[in-house]
């Protein structure tokens, strides 16, 4: 187990560097981002020169990469000109907080809804409810996130006016008591969280279902029955314990989808999160900022996967001893 963990963490290092390299290359090899800055009358030439130096643009490309990577690691992320010279770290911190808040919420929602349903479907394969849930799962998988958001907004925001149609909080509530703010926040988050969860749920249901179906076929489930255990114990103890092991990998698998989905959901609902930040950075050709956000999102994904793998090793006794 210890070896497994150390190996797993060591394997991550080239990945971290590689992702940084790709991010760096993609956003640098295309051209000089400062060429576009120069066209902008709002930016002073000396600012450009200062930034060129700060980002190492006066260095050869490989040295520039190391300089950049080092400044990334040390948290020295610079300032974003298009956001009025605010420090990138501050922009990212705020955005990351919003993104985490609502992705984690939808992650939990998706997990607690999808996994039990998937398990249920497997146990009652070919029952009416199984068909219903299968349909539901495909529905979720096939629905473009933004379109689904539109529909929900049209129904709950425009027609019924139950929920706000965008933003993250009602203006003027910044200093209200905590509970009031929480309630307010919940109101704003319901739609985006549901949309994002809905999008992930379908895949999870199918995955949990097939994982459980796979386990039910195994010899040891027959052994458990032959022992005289009740069907409940056979399913919920012997089978489920095994089925949950691959389901844990979902934690890792789900993160890319969540990050991608979050980008769209944030845009539709006007949540100032990481996705929106990346998007705006790209729209404004603010490459230094985009590089930070892209790198951070990738690292989020890599660490999420690491977490899932560790959890996997904890639950599966077969990994402990290798």
């Amino acid at each position: 187990m210890r070896n497994y963990l150390i190996r797993r963490i060591l394997q991550m290092i080239p990945l971290l560097i590689g992702v940084a390299l790709v991010t760096f290359l993609v956003l640098n090899l295309v051209g000089d981002p400062f060429a576009q800055y120069a066209l902008n009358p709002r930016i002073k030439p000396e600012d450009i020169a200062r930034m060129k130096h700060a980002w190492g643009f006066d260095l050869p490309i490989h040295l520039r990469f190391f300089k950049w990577f080092w400044s990334m690691l040390t948290g020295n992320w610079g300032v974003s000109i298009f956001s009025g010279g605010r420090p990138v770290a501050e922009l990212v911190k705020n955005s990351l907080l919003w993104t985490l808040k609502f992705t984690v919420a939808s992650f939990i929602l998706a997990f607690i809804v999808a996994v039990p349903i998937g398990i249920y479907s497997a146990i009652h394969q070919y029952s009416i409810l199984d068909y219903f849930f299968t349909g539901f799962a495909f529905f979720g998988m096939s629905m473009p996130t933004f379109w689904f958001s539109f529909i929900l907004l049209m129904i709950f925001g425009v027609r019924l006016k139950w929920l706000p149609i965008g933003g993250v909080m009602t203006p003027g509530l910044e200093s209200a008591p905590f509970l009031v703010r929480l309630l307010d926040q919940t109101k704003y988050f319901i739609l985006p969280v549901v949309v994002l969860a809905f999008n992930t749920m379908g895949g999870w249901m199918r995955y949990s279902r097939s994982s459980m179906l796979e386990v039910i076929r195994q010899d040891y489930v027959r052994t458990a029955r032959a022992k005289g255990l009740s069907e409940r114990v056979v399913i919920y103890k012997h089978a489920l314990r095994n089925a949950l092991i691959p389901i844990i990998t979902l934690l890792g698998i789900a993160i890319p989808g969540l990050i991608s989905g979050a980008m769209i959901t944030e845009t539709v609902f006007g949540i100032p999160g990481m996705g929106r930040l990346t998007l705006n950075a790209m729209l404004n050709n603010d490459y230094p900022l985009a590089m930070v956000t892209l790198l951070l999102e990738s690292y989020l994904l890599i660490f999420g996967n690491l977490f899932a793998d560790i959890l996997y090793a904890v639950v599966d006794p077969r990994i402990k001893y290798t």
């Binding site: 590689g18 629905m143 473009p144 890319p256 990050i259 892209l294």
Partner: protein, 303 residues
């Protein structure tokens, strides 16, 4: 020797169905997959032929006509414009049919090119193993570690142009890794099978084994993943277009038709409904078909 002629006919003749007959027979039992297949054929035909039969060109902006309240901008569905008109008074139906061509083409073409790259990388990696495999797979891991949507947006920005081919290129750049991993996995397991060893034992060359023995045996998962992939890519195209990084107007695609729709939510909901439904139904059909194919091609069902 061994078997006397008299009895043999009774002993041996199983039904002589080919692999694809068996697969199709299994697929037929999957009602939703068959319905989806039919539906997809209809959708594809409609998009291909449809534009020749509709009254309006997709870019026609019908002029204001004081005598006809159904013609003009933001008109709801009527017998003149079955799916209504958009902010410029263009016929939504015509745009959906034409946009379908674009969306479907993007879906198919990017899946196709991703498969070419993915199969090549996966096959080489899985068959030869060693350093080559390690390098290719580490690169795949890296590509996998960058979240798709942000990467798409970045790629769409830095690659110049706004056409269909650019979007296909962009989707291909991130899309090949799934196929590569898939094919590699299949090759790794097939490589251990005795029929691969048998091919080596008779003296078959590596390239013969890779392309003639192993590739046909990895078709099943590739077919399933591409079917699901077409649907997925249609959604990616739509999402990119919605974010403003996709197919650029005036060329219609299902995605960019929805681009301005958010602001039309209050007064022209049909502009949201129709393109969305087109995407949804098409993707749903691809997903059902892919699921049916997965069951029909399941390698665990012994042949």
């Amino acid at each position: 020797m061994a078997i006397s002629q008299e009895y043999e006919s009774e002993l041996t003749t199983y039904k002589a169905e080919t692999y694809w007959q068996i697969v199709f027979k299994r697929l037929k039992k999957h009602k939703l997959a068959i319905i989806s297949l039919v539906l997809l054929i209809i959708i594809i035909l409609a998009c291909l032929i449809g534009p020749f039969f509709v009254k309006y060109h997709y870019n026609d902006m019908s002029n204001y006509d004081p005598d006809n309240p159904f013609v003009g901008e933001y008109k709801p569905p009527s017998k003149y414009h079955l799916f209504g008109t958009d902010e410029l008074g263009r016929d939504t139906l015509s745009r959906i049919l034409y946009g379908g061509r674009i969306s479907l083409f993007v879906g198919f073409a990017s899946v196709f090119s991703a498969i070419i790259i993915g199969v090549f990388v996966g096959a080489i990696s899985g068959y030869y193993g060693g350093i080559l495999d390690t390098l290719l797979m580490r690169f795949t891991d890296i590509m996998f570690s960058i979240p798709v949507m942000p990467l798409l947006v970045v790629l769409a920005t830095i690659i110049p142009g706004g056409g269909v081919w650019k979007i296909i290129l962009v989707i291909t750049i991130f899309g090949w890794m799934t196929d590569a991993r898939l094919v590699r996995g299949v090759y790794l397991s097939l490589k251990e099978q005795e029929f691969t060893e048998a091919a080596r034992a008779i003296g078959a060359s590596n390239s013969r084994i890779i392309w003639k023995h192993l590739l046909p045996n990895s078709m099943a998962p590739i077919i399933v993943s591409s079917t699901l992939g077409v649907g997925g890519n249609i959604i990616y195209e739509a999402s990119l277009s919605y974010l403003g990084f996709g197919i650029m107007p005036p060329t219609p695609s299902w995605g960019n038709m929805l681009q301005n729709a958010q602001s039309a939510m209050f007064n022209a909901p049909w502009l949201i409904w129709f393109p969305g439904i087109a995407i949804f139904i098409t993707v749903l059909a691809f997903n059902f078909l892919g699921d049916g194919l997965r069951d029909a091609l399941d390698p665990r069902l012994k042949l």
